[in-house]
Symmetry: C2
Subunit: 414 residues, 2 copies
């Protein structure tokens, strides 16, 4: 019988990895490797063996959370990622580093802002994120709000955080702030962004900004964080602390640090304005296709033959693809597979009415994504196909704003 | 017998379009439609009929170019695009608007800078660009330089201009400036960027910057243009005049307007430093795949089964994909299909040594693209596979800088 803290070896696809067995609630076997990083495995597709029994956790459990009268109640949901990866690399000791208790005990300023409850939803590398996990997370967020949370913080790996933020934005109508936060450098490294991001996230979770947002460093200094709308944000740098940027709109707000003043920069939904609603349907058989010169349209056939239900096409410029793709867009549309047009420029809006190619794309059934980011259009299409009764209805949704992801005119200064 | 200026109808794939027959040298039938925009057709796959005979061109041919003693000799090669689309929309009159003569007659300041020769290489919408056209263009640029051009300007549609710039950067070693230029708004519209961009391009074509560059507006005002390295530039907005930005490096230079002062911002190859060399091989069977959460790795099988020779994988963050892709990367690599890793963040560099997923990708044979843009990595892979005798040699080239597309460390301020 394996126990947490045991050193085990997991062999999958011929590759053997050793590490210490970690807590996990998603059914995955998670090990902490000697490198300090975690790896998760499907137990049904891996061989697991005991290397040696572990010692009892070497770190004492954190003290129960202090509760202060009069502070709002915030839930911290943990999904994995760098922000939750503080650990003793040398001993490999199993600690409850994913709990709210551990995060708070390492960042005592958080206690000035709220009283917290914490839950580990799962513990995955964010590049392994997929639609099913978004659904689990959306239900968990809804359940915390039902139980009285006045704000929810979701800690998340940065690689796919903006996809998750978009998914939660479409799945949840929230009366309270739902804040995704992560860190580009873990809290046990010099110049970690974990503490400032977490404190800023807590400030937003207790604010009047009742939307799904991403809160991360605004600059490479520790001077302020930005509050990005969940459908309008993109990781624009592989490693910088200020990698997250609002695209095609201004951030909702700035949070100054360390004084935590929130300066609102744009309109937002206010606390209590919407009633809680969780619509967690997602059609995972949707694909994002990036066009490139010479790309062959038969990729669409591959997707249609594989049972895909929707495609987002990242065209060039205003949303253009080569003329020989037009017929394929029509075939996909005729087969009931909506094709949404976005632009690989990322900034600006597609406009298929200016040039002839664009008008041909529209005539073939292509749906203009406006100024929606390609990745957000993908997640929206997954949601729209699962939450409507006809494809035509889903196509209609792609043209209107459901969660601030599309606007009738894009500000020219962003 | 159809003549230029005739009104014709072209029917292709069941769609009939009318317009005025335009000059074309690529074997394509090009018509100017009533909307003012051009469409090109393969004559072997279209039905062409005469609607009515045209009048002789209503615009007199431009006067022969004045030659001024002592000015350098610059060739203007035209490939189509908005910058070459000045036309009388109302009459549909055929003018030689694609020639150097016409461009210069509408922008007289150009005559202060150089003496020009012009050639129409082809006249396509830039979204129809593909590897074969890049090869034709590279040979044409080489031939102009051989004939004594002291600088070459390529006018190009903006949608795929940066892909073409990358392709020319790898195919041509040039002793003189090779400048790509376009416009976001055609010269007969208010606030066109065509004149300033063309004048700035001419200034760079007669400068000491002997590289393949893209010269476009630096701001939304007419104050300066930026000179971007051909392997480091990306169209980052669908419609703004300052859409083109250097990524992961500073622009090579600024060109102030209207005084045309060139301020060099970074190192560059100088005039005469390299001998002319054109290596125009390109392996067009290469694909760019953008990863997204839940994406299925069987896309690789589709490409390998379709005879593709190389794949660039646009991962999340530092270059990550879900764990179930690792095995597929190994299969592709084992099948002799190199897989190059880039990041959809665009800014920053992939680094597959930090996290476990990355190390698995490297162990499976994935090749780190450093801070090369995904689109540039694709074009480079096309070139590397065609200009080496083994796949291993091509893979080796992907890790080193051939035309400034990769650096050992990325500046943190770009």
């Amino acid at each position: 019988m394996l126990e947490l803290g045991d050193r085990i070896a997991v062999t999958k696809d011929g590759v053997r990895r050793e590490g210490v067995l970690m807590p996990s609630v998603s059914g995955t076997v998670v090990i902490k490797m000697d490198s300090g990083y975690n790896a998760g495995f499907d137990p049904e597709r891996s061989d697991v063996e005991l290397v040696r029994k572990g010692k009892a956790p070497m770190v004492p459990p954190p003290p129960p959370l202090l509760r202060r009268e009069g502070l709002p109640k915030v839930s911290i949901l943990s999904t994995g990622g760098t922000i939750a990866s503080k650990v003793d690399y040398r001993t490999g000791a199993v600690t409850s580093q994913f709990s709210a208790e551990e995060i708070i005990s390492s960042i005592p300023e958080l206690l000035e802002i709220a009283n917290y409850d914490g839950r580990v939803i799962y513990n995955i590398l964010s590049e392994n994120m997929k639609a099913e996990y978004w659904q689990v997370l959306a239900r968990a967020v809804g359940s915390e709000i039902e139980k009285g949370a006045e704000g929810v913080i979701v800690t998340h790996g940065t690689d796919t955080m903006t996809y998750t933020a978009a998914a939660l934005s479409f799945m949840i109508k929230t009366p309270v702030p739902v804040v995704l936060v992560g860190s580009q450098r873990s809290s046990d490294r010099p110049s970690s962004d974990a503490a400032m991001n977490a404190i800023s996230a807590a400030a937003v979770a207790t604010s009047d900004i009742a939307e799904v947002t991403v809160v991360m460093h605004g600059t490479t200094s520790d001077d302020f964080a930005l509050v990005h709308r969940g459908t309008r944000v993109r990781k624009m740098h592989t490693s910088r602390r200020d990698a997250f940027r609002s695209i095609n709109c201004h951030p909702i707000a700035k949070v100054s640090y360390p004084d935590r003043e929130i300066e609102v920069l744009g309109g937002h939904r206010r606390r209590g304005e919407a009633a809680l609603e969780v619509n967690d349907g997602l059609e995972s058989r949707c694909a994002l296709v990036k066009y490139f010169p010479g790309a062959k349209p038969d990729l669409f056939e591959h997707y249609i033959n594989s049972g895909y239900r929707g495609i987002v096409l990242e065209g060039t410029g205003l949303g253009h693809v080569a003329s020989d793709w037009i017929k394929t867009i029509k075939s996909a549309t005729d087969a009931g597979v909506p094709v949404v047009i976005a632009s690989q420029c990322l900034r600006g809006r597609v406009c298929d009415r200016v040039y002839d190619t664009g008008r041909d794309i529209l005539a073939a059934g292509g749906i203009e994504g406006g100024d929606t980011l390609p990745e957000v259009a993908l997640v929206k299409l997954m949601w729209a196909l699962a939450n409507t009764s006809t494809v035509e209805e889903a196509k209609g949704l792609m043209k209107v704003s459901l969660a601030g992801e599309i606007s009738s005119s894009t500000p020219t200064t962003v």
